[in-house]
Amino acid sequence: MLKKLMLPLLVLVLTIPMIAGCGDSGAIKIGLEGPMTGDYAYEGQGFEKAVSMLVEQTNEAGGLLGREIELIVEDDAGDPTQAALVAQRLVDAGVVAVIGAYNSTATEPASEIYNDAGILHVTPSSTATRLTEKGFERFFRVCFLDDRQGLFAATFADEVLGVQNLGILHDNSTYAQGLAEHTRRYAEEAGINVAFYDAINPDDQDFTPILTNIGGAGLDAIYFTGYHAQGGLLLKQAKELGLDLTWMMGNASNNPELVQIAGLENAVGTYITTEPLPKDVDYPEARKFVSDFEAEYGEPPASVWWMMSAEAFNVIRYAIEQTDSTDSEVLADFLHNEAKDINGITGPILGWDEKGDRLGTIHLAYIIDENGDFVVYPEQP
């Protein structure tokens, strides 16, 4: 008698949790992986502020597909080993999708684990090219690769400044050299003559030898892709040599210290190509996000990557809404093939290519004004 009852009982016991798990009543779990401690804690904590605010807003408005969203935050400290550990924890917790990580070094091992588990993974800020070279079908970025900045810089030089002879100078770091090469390629495609292409040694203090050459090369503009300390010295020493050059610099020079090192009078009029500062992202969705953020935390979002993390959540929410599904395969398929022209927090999202890289660009050109402030240049390509 007891034996006859055992089987249906067992079936019943085993199915209850399954029904509960599949039912529409449970919360939709979304993971956020980022550096809450360590060197990049500033960015990771900004991620948490931005995303948890949006989760709260969504839940107050009735949730997603009639279900609550539960945000699970894990700290990878920016460290690849820790990233693999917390990625596994998020998978075990049964998340539908993951936002993260901040730095490419941490995103890489985590992306392997999410890929094996078949979970939708959106990184707000990891720009290393190789991340999307692995054929992971459920991995996406809302940030842009460095080659987008190269395209932007070349287009800006061509269309806005009307440059015919462009010089490009990098500092032999992987990042700066990459940006310089992308810019050269796009500039040549646009019909600009790249009349000067060379690198400085960032350990040097004196750049007058190469500046003397640059001065004699007949350039309309010179684009420096390295970091702000050398950028400042270049501006200062060029003026001391009596050179009258039009300087463009990449986003590694997007730092107020550039003006200090160069001296205000030498820095004025320098163009900077960069992702926009949060205050300058001029879209209704961006303005709403910034003002909500200020109301919630008493200060505007400090970093563009915080906006990118909000964007990552936004994209996941949009995909779930549009497909009426929480199945990662359906969501990834939607993002690859159907998602187009979404009103993003960081600007219109044109869509994603087959690798998962975001199409288009949001870069802006800034100019250093006579107060030493970085202001958006009125003319953009």
Binding site: N201, P209, E240
Partner: protein
């Protein structure tokens, strides 16, 4: 015309190398010790100058060129005393310990000085307060320009180097220094207080280095804590090139290194300038192992 401009650039860089190289060469002359801490004493000159000028700006509520003189003197004295202290603590106890131990001790002092600067002032780039440098310059012909700061740097450097040369050649203490550089024991027998002479060398060398550090700070406007390592290494090589232990040699070596580096960077690429400069160094050392002016030391010995 570009060639003349590059020569001017090279001489300016060379002047800095020469000033720092003097410190290496003087210490080597009397102790046969390569004082690796010298580059970092030089770097401390730049940091102390920064603090001094910031204090001056705060006290006088604005930059004033007159503040430069007391600040330079204070920096020179402080770095000079630090040099004497380094000698007393890290080198003198090891003087009879062979040649390797003092060199390692010197490297240790270099790392300590560098870490101290990083921990006290932070790892970010530091900027001198504006208003202490003279802008402007002279355009000689089209494409050839000397800035006022370059002229000031060159004048100060040559005055310091010339003064030091006369001091060593013409004064009693200078004569004693040259005697000590030949033989400690015989000098002592002749009634020279060798320890006192060595202390004076450690007063003058780092003192000049400290001034050089502050001039670098004024000239370039900004620097970080690795300044001493980069300049120190180049200046050390300049000292060897000119013949270590020889004061005019340090000046010559600094100039040659500065000019070849600049021409390498200007006519090849900054990526190749070190290859150029050190290729020339190797060639010179193959033909003159004691450096360009090194033979005079050999003659004396």
């Amino acid at each position: 015309m570009q060639f003349i401009q590059q020569l001017i650039n090279g001489i300016t860089i060379g002047a800095f190398y020469s000033l720092v190289a003097l410190g290496y060469t003087m210490v080597y002359g009397v102790l046969k010790l390569i004082n690796f801490a010298h580059g970092d004493l030089f770097m401390w000159g730049a940091y102390l100058g920064l603090t001094g000028l910031n204090v001056a700006v705060a006290l006088l509520s604005g930059p004033s060129a007159w503040a430069l003189i007391p600040v330079i003197i204070v920096v020179m004295l402080t770095v000079a005393l630090a040099g004497v202290l380094v000698e007393r603590v890290a080198y003198r106890p090891l003087r009879s310990a062979g040649r390797l131990a003092p060199v390692i001790s010197a490297l240790g002092v270099a790392f300590i000085l560098q870490s101290l600067a990083r921990n006290i002032y932070g790892a970010s780039w530091k900027t001198y307060p504006p208003g202490f440098t003279v802008s402007g310059g002279v355009t000689l012909t089209a494409g050839v320009r000397v800035s006022t700061m370059q002229i000031i740097v060159l004048v100060i450097s040559f005055l310091l180097m010339g003064g030091l040369y006369l001091f060593v050649q013409r004064t009693r203490i200078g004569t004693a220094m040259r005697a000590v550089s030949l033989d400690h024991d015989v000098s002592r027998l002749m009634g020279i207080d060798v320890n006192r002479i060595i202390a004076i060398v450690f007063l003058i060398g780092p003192g000049l280095g400290g001034v050089a550090g502050m001039i670098v700070g004024l000239y370039y406007g900004s620097f970080d804590f690795t300044l001493g390592w980069v300049f120190g290494l180049k200046a050390f090589i300049a000292a060897i090139l000119g013949g270590i232990g020889n004061i005019p040699g340090a000046m010559l070596g600094g100039m040659i290194l500065g000019i070849t580096e600049t021409l390498g960077a200007g006519y090849l690429s900054p990526q190749w300038k070190d290859v150029m400069a050190y290729l020339i160094l190797i060639v010179i050392l193959i033909f003159r192992p004691n450096g360009l002016l090194g033979e005079r030391v050999a003659e004396k010995v």
